[in-house]
Every structure is written in C-alpha cells, then in structure tokens.
C-alpha cells in the first residue's frame, strides 16, 4: 500500500496557496531543525534515505496535520530514539507545556509530578 506521502494525482487538497515566502524560514526553530538535520547527517548519525523513510513512515493523520519542518523534527527524534541517543518522552520532561503552547506553570509541574505528563506522547514520532 502506498504511504501517505505519495500524493501525486490525489484529489481533494484544494487550490495551491501561491504566496511567495520571502524568508527561507518562518521561525527560528525551523532553521535549527535544518541545522540539526545537516549536522547529524554530516557526522553519520543517519543518512538521507533513513531520514526520508522516517518521515514517510509517519501515520497519515500525523503526517497531514504536521507542518513541513515538524515532519523533519519528528523524523530526527524518531531516528535518535531508534539509535538509542534519546529516550522516548525525554523531550517532554520538566513540566511540559500544554498543547496550546502555554508556558509550563505550577499546574503542569504538579501533573508531571503525579505522572500525568504524557499528553504529548503521540507527537514524539
């Protein structure tokens, strides 16, 4: 079965938003993710084919919901977990902010202490 990234000829995605980006990146974190990819690939942590496979292995729903560089970050994290460099959930520690991106407050820390901080696990790739 084709993976979700194989969209050629698929119908239903609507008109192209032809807005021309003037800057290479929309946010600083996007540049950091590209830097992570280039630096880790250059040192042989993974190769481009592994990286593409990690993106293309994302479940369809997550793939379509993620922005372009979110997919990159998901793939990088997945490969680092596979190679034992980081542990699943490790980026969630220290009072994870909520899905809405609010700063981690007392409530979040309390929940974390009670072991209920796993709401973002689905995003870890």
């Amino acid at each position: 079965m084709a993976r979700i990234n194989d969209v050629g000829g698929m119908q239903g995605f609507g008109a192209v938003d032809t807005t021309d980006d003037t800057e290479p990146f929309h946010a600083d974190w996007e540049a950091r993710v590209v830097g992570l990819f280039n630096a880790l690939r250059a040192q042989g942590m993974f190769n481009t084919n592994e990286f593409r496979d990690a993106i293309e292995s994302m479940p369809a729903k997550e793939y379509l919901a993620a922005s372009y560089y979110e997919r990159w970050f998901t793939a990088i994290c997945a490969l680092l977990e596979r190679k034992g460099v980081i542990e699943p959930g490790e980026l969630d520690e220290q009072g994870e902010p909520t899905e809405q991106g609010e700063p981690a407050g007392l409530e979040a820390r309390e929940r974390a202490e009670q072991g209920e901080s796993a709401e973002l696990e689905a995003r870890d790739g």
């Binding site: 050629g8 000829g9 995605f13 929309h26 590209v34 830097g35 040192q43």
Partner: protein, 194 residues
C-alpha cells in the same frame, strides 16, 4: 498547515531541549548547529540558479553542456560541488513549457534555488500539478497558450530538475548580471515565465 503560531512556541522549546541533550551527550558540539545553518544558507540561493540561466542565455556552448549534463555544467560555475545528486536542466521552448515537482516529498535543487517555498512542499501542489498542470499554473497567474505542451518533471532522491526559462525578447543588449536579475525562483521551478 505550516507556521501555526500556537505550535511554534511548543515545538521551539522541544527543539531547544533536543539541542541541549545532544550537547550534554557529546553528540553535537556547541557551535555545530550554527555552523550547519550558516553553511546551508550561504551555499543555497536562487541567485545561483539565475546566474546559471543567464550564462546559458549568453553562451550557446555552455547551454549545450548544461542541457547535456547539468551537474557537470553547473560545477564549472562552482555550484553543486561534491553533490551526489544529478541535475537535469529542462529547456522551455515555443512549444514546450516545463515545470518541476516532487510528488513524494520535497526534492529540489537546493543549492541552485535556495530553500523551497512552502507551496512547493504543499500537498495541493504535489498532488495536482501532475494531474492538472495547466490549472495549477493558472493559479500562479501563468496562462499558457492552448497549444503549448506542458512537461511535468517529478524529482527523486537522485535526480533534481531545474527549468531553463525562455529569454525575454527585449533583453538582447543586457549584460549577464542584468539577465540574472530578471530570473525569479518561480521561473526556475516553472510556475512563472521570465
């Protein structure tokens, strides 16, 4: 959708946390990321592709070499050195207009065109330009005569494409640098003419 702002704060914290972990574990040194970003941006720009096009417009023998072996020809100008990818340059003519896509992901001649625009990576563009290229080009404001054939080139991990646009008629006396200044990123992708 790209650039959802409520996600930006969240993901940027996660990226920073990953950077910190990789530094603590000795996987990345302190300045490695900044160096990688600077190197990427320094060697990747649509100005590079524009210079290749301008050279092809003024130098017929370079143009022949460019169309025969894109990788070797752009390496003459100092681009794509050491790249494992193959560049194929496709020429627009009176009867054929070329446009590039990567239906599977986002393959693109980064070093010649710079980071790709968001629409190039969108599901809309990737899915539709292979099925209804004329309609998609119209959305970019490019209306082609009904008799013009449209060739769509689907990039792969190994082969990247770049369009050689047609030289505008009013530019006979232009020096090479001025010609290059007329060539836009969209013209190199094929979603605009020059």
């Amino acid at each position: 959708m790209s650039g959802d702002h409520h996600d930006d704060a969240l993901i940027s914290r996660r990226v920073r946390r990953l950077e910190t972990l990789l530094e603590e574990r000795g996987v990345l040194s302190g300045g490695a990321l900044d160096e990688a970003i600077d190197a990427f941006l320094a060697q990747s720009s649509p100005a590079n592709g524009a210079r290749v096009v301008a050279r092809a417009w003024v130098d017929p023998s370079f143009k022949s070499r460019l169309l025969a072996d894109g990788t070797a020809a752009v390496q003459e100008l100092g681009y794509m050195e050491g790249s494992y990818q193959r560049l194929r340059v496709v020429e627009n003519t009176e009867s054929v207009h070329n446009v590039i896509v990567c239906t599977l992901c986002s393959c693109y001649p980064l070093r010649l065109l710079g980071p790709s625009p968001s629409w190039y990576k969108s599901e809309s563009y990737r899915s539709r330009v292979v099925r209804e290229p004329r309609a998609v080009l119209a959305e970019f404001g490019l209306a082609l005569p009904a008799g013009t054939e449209i060739a769509v080139w689907d990039s792969s991990a190994e082969t990247r494409y770049m369009v050689l646009p047609r030289r505008p008629a009013d530019t006979e006396s232009f020096p090479e640098e001025e010609l290059a200044a007329r060539v836009t990123r969209n013209a190199l992708i094929g979603t605009a003419a020059v």
